[in-house]
Symmetry: C2
Subunit: 156 residues, 2 copies
């Protein structure tokens, strides 16, 4: 079976070695991978956001550990957005992701930067700093989702 060598939305040196080997057998493998990375990242971000919003008690150790997971995951989804992965499995990624690749790369870089700041804030154990970082990272997620994520999954 031919391997689909993806054109990676490379974003920073730290990502290079993770992206360089990111070859997926089929477009659906890339789609499943990027969706899975987003799901795990969103879950762990949500656990800290719930603390920031007062929905669950603040636990500094848990906040720091979960932020550590977020920052690792933040670097991963981009390798799954290679050329030819706009179709192959149901996806909410709009076709504009591949048309506006420079803008999407900027938004991805901004999100990774905010994830690093979020992780640093979480490690201070200061709830006010964490609240601010949750807000900034949430905005960075939303900035891309607003323009490039559809409401519904595509049918293929």
């Amino acid at each position: 079976m031919n391997r689909l060598v993806v054109t990676v939305i490379a974003a920073g040196a730290a990502l290079t070695s993770l992206s360089a080997a990111a070859q997926f057998q089929k477009p659906e493998d890339a789609i499943k991978y990027r969706q899975s990375a987003m799901t795990v990242m969103g879950n762990h971000f949500g656990r800290v956001a719930a603390m920031a919003q007062g929905k669950v008690p603040f636990d500094a150790k848990a906040a720091a550990d979960n932020a550590g997971v977020v920052v690792v995951l933040s670097k991963l989804p981009w390798a799954g957005f290679g050329e030819g992965t706009d179709k192959g499995a149901p996806t909410r990624a709009k076709p504009e992701v591949w048309k506006d690749s420079a803008k999407v790369k900027d938004l991805a870089t901004k999100m990774m930067d905010e994830a690093e700041k979020f992780d640093a804030a979480a490690k201070t154990g200061n709830l006010d700093a964490i609240k601010a970082a949750v807000g900034s990272l949430g905005k960075a997620c939303k900035a891309c989702h607003d323009d490039y994520r559809a409401e519904k999954y595509s049918s293929n």
Copy 2:
């Protein structure tokens, strides 16, 4: 909406703070989460396994970076196996996962230990050490999959 507070298959102190806050709104959220964590982990393990098998050129930096992702992900899926998450979405987890929870916990702990060793081996940059660690970690994955993962997804 009531939150589903899962009974966590806790496995080691390092996991505690990640698991403690692991509450899922619905069983399907837990199933999606654990499947996503497994997908991302399997992808990054596969990238290093491909090097160990000579299918792609050995890249010590990429091996180390990917192993770092694997060890972070190895701690995550277990929180998604709480009581009541045997159904709710298509899953390959057999009912025995919840009947044999002590055995499954042991297998999960063994896998996490092997992931740590794999990460340490990858960081040496020694291909022979990496090959051995890939084999050991692969066996630890398979030990659980053989008994507790079905061939096909359940229909709900």
